[in-house]
């Protein structure tokens, strides 16, 4: 091929050319740095679009399971969780968690939340207060999964519910530490509406986009 490949660079990378056309593009790119560069840009765009989470080998999973089976050495603030708290605008409240003593179960739940956030794509939505003085709260949720993670700027014992066609499903009580509360639910119903209640009274709710 003596002519420059021009738009064939992008067509090659997109995979719409047949084998013969691809071979001609390859041959030309070997002899023409300008076309090789354009081809490389198109390829790196496709490679970027194809990026996936790496396949973690089973051996690492086994080693990590052994780590998680050990008692924790006390709460250490997680940069991922700080990032999540920052995202939802609760960093000042979150700060107090660092100085608080937490139970092992609480740490385990927090580890679950961190793991869920760093291994899947998530979004967040703010709860809308239904009564005056309702605390600022958000729901972090998996876009393509079951988990939800409620965080609230209050130490009050709030409960989280999913509003399903079959009725309200209680998901648990937020664990309160200082002036912050959190609840991670690994398997939540695929509901669009979630509510927070205090003493049995609904105080705020959030409607998620369809997942």
């Amino acid at each position: 091929m003596t002519q420059h490949i021009d738009e064939l660079a992008e067509l090659y990378a997109l995979g719409v050319l047949d084998e013969e056309e691809r071979a001609r593009v390859d041959a030309h790119a070997l002899a023409c740095d300008a076309c090789a560069s354009r081809l490389g840009e198109a390829e790196s765009t496709i490679a970027f679009m194809e990026q996936r989470a790496p396949v973690v080998p089973a051996s690492l999973d086994r080693r990590m399971s052994a780590v998680f089976a050990r008692p924790t050495g006390g709460f250490r603030i997680s940069s991922a969780l700080v990032a999540a708290a920052f995202i939802v605008g609760l960093l000042p409240s979150f700060w107090f968690w660092n100085s608080a003593r937490t139970t092992q179960a609480f740490d385990a739940q927090r580890e679950q939340a961190v793991h869920a956030m760093v291994t899947s794509h998530f979004a967040h939505a703010q709860f809308t207060p239904l009564s005056p003085g309702a605390p600022k709260a958000k729901l972090i949720y998996a876009r393509t999964g079951d988990w939800v993670y409620a965080v609230a700027a209050t130490g009050a014992a709030l409960t989280l519910q999913a509003q399903t066609p079959g009725g309200s499903v209680g998901l648990g009580t937020l664990h309160a530490t200082g002036n912050a509360g959190e609840l991670f639910v690994a398997k939540a119903p695929h509901a669009q509406i979630f509510t927070l209640s205090e003493n049995g009274r609904e105080i705020e709710r959030v409607t998620l986009p369809k997942r």
Binding site: E7, E10, A29, D33, G40, E41, M49, V55
Partner: protein, 177 residues
Amino acid sequence: MVMDAPTSQTRRWDSTLEDGYREHRNMLYGVALRVLHDRSEAEDCVHDTILRLWQRGHSYTPARGSLGAFLTVCVRNEALTRLRKRANRSRIEHERLSADAIEPAVDEPIVEHVRVEEALASLSPVQRDTLRLAYFGGLTHEQIAARMNEPVGTVKSRLSNGLRALRAYFKARGEDL
């Protein structure tokens, strides 16, 4: 035609290819699997692609940039070729080539598809539809032209400009391409 490299360069290419495969093997297998939806065939696809590059000489030049991107596109192209041959063999269009199947049929955490969809949303509707048929649908430019009832040249320009626009979109957001 792909040229064979001189002996000394061939030795370097062998080493480069082996290192490249080891570094990117998860990515390469994942790309093949997402196109073919068959673990055994995906494995064959990666194997045969690398074997061909190994045996027939190199078609990679440093001017092309990332070796990982080069290998990714090589494997993806081989997977798409296999998908099309499979469809031809059965004389029916494969489900991923059907009009209703341009959505990615992937059941894994799809961070990447959200990222791609967001980028596609920045394009004009006709450019977006054309790219979707190519990227998600696995159609050739002739098949896309027939499907959209457009001249092949129009489709080729649209695909080329569309992919360049996606690159600009990602780079404007600070992505390291």
